[in-house]
Amino acid sequence: MKLPAPRGAVSTAVIDLLGGKAATLPRTTTPDDDEDLHLALFVCYEMAYRGWDGVDDRWEWDPELLRLRAALEQRFEADLHALAGPPEHVDPETVPHRLTELVTADDGPSLSGRLRSRATYEQFREFVTHRSVYHLREADPHTYVIPRLAGRPKAALIEIQLDEYGGGVVSKMHQELFKRTMSWFGLDLTYGAYVDAVPAATLATNNVMSLFALHRRNRAALLGHLAAYEMTSSIPNRAYAGGLRRLGGDASATAFYDEHVEADAVHEQIAAHDLCGSFAVAEPELAGDVLYGARCALALDARWAGTVLASWDAGRSSLRE
């Protein structure tokens, strides 16, 4: 993936360093705004996934870059605490029930309703463009937590991930299924092709997964994040599939969404009970972090959906120029 265009002082510094245009990072770690913060973080994090074209893989563990990343993460975590509320201590036995309560109470703006009933072809295409940043690496962040678990939660996570990766069949991998939807819209299937096109709100939904995935201390939050995703997926995906059919989408175009209706009906049970429930009992001091991770997932998704809908309501594109 090509290094993106910078969006402020800090993202410029990181991109110039990785791209070989600068030898050191400046002292300042204060981003200009959310766009600058989340692009800089995204660029740092990508070194732990598939990297950037022409950038030495050794930057992944460069102490200076990690120090900058930590400063950016501190800001992001403060934002998350303000947005979703900091972790609180909870009775581990209540975690599955509390997760259900959280997703039931989630009153984020209904992007799925809009996509099902009246989004235009162009708007649906934008939605797919935003989501491509995640879906082309769907499940990868959550895979990072596998070696940090043992016993029942580990088996539960692997049961979910096996499905995410198509049970070992490439064409059934969710990452690959999404390419069929993208193809129908004539979008570029290259991993990361739309990083430049998406705003901070989209990057933040990706960055939170990396923040939780790459730090072992956040393992519980990552599990909660996964549970929130799985538990809020079946019904919206049915709406996406319906909306895409309304626009003329064929079986190949809707395969990704149809698959998620059925798969996530399984995953939500496993995630809430076998994964998060048993993890919370095994590591009771982290039970509150599970719920915190779920709240962060819901809050950032709601913020992103709100941004997209506000753009459409104003007659604008939700993507960057």
Partner: protein
């Protein structure tokens, strides 16, 4: 499936060994009712129509509709949440009249 070499190796193919294997695989599946949700089926199982035609599960672990409102029966599609479906996780014993 559990390793059943030993005895199985000495029996004629398709005979008792085959039947034992069939029983063992049938015994190795579990059906778990999840609270207020579907039945989750794991292990070696087949889903077939009353005529015996296979219903493709498409995955190793499946969720079967328990609320009766799924649009993709026999599989679950999450609709139980919309209709506020309530069901426990154990055998229900009706109270005596």
């Amino acid at each position: 499936m559990p390793d059943d070499t030993g005895d199985g190796d000495r029996l004629p193919a398709g005979g008792l060994a085959g039947r034992l294997a069939g029983i063992r695989s049938a015994m190795s599946s579990t059906i778990i009712p999840y609270e207020d949700g579907p039945l989750i089926v794991r292990g070696d199982f087949e889903i077939v129509t009353p005529d015996g035609a296979p219903i493709e599960a498409g995955r190793a672990t499946v969720a079967l509709c328990r609320c009766g409102k799924s649009a993709i029966k026999p599989f679950c599609d999450g609709t139980h949440k919309v209709i506020n479906f309530r069901a426990g996780t154990d055998r229900v014993t009706p109270p005596p009249r």
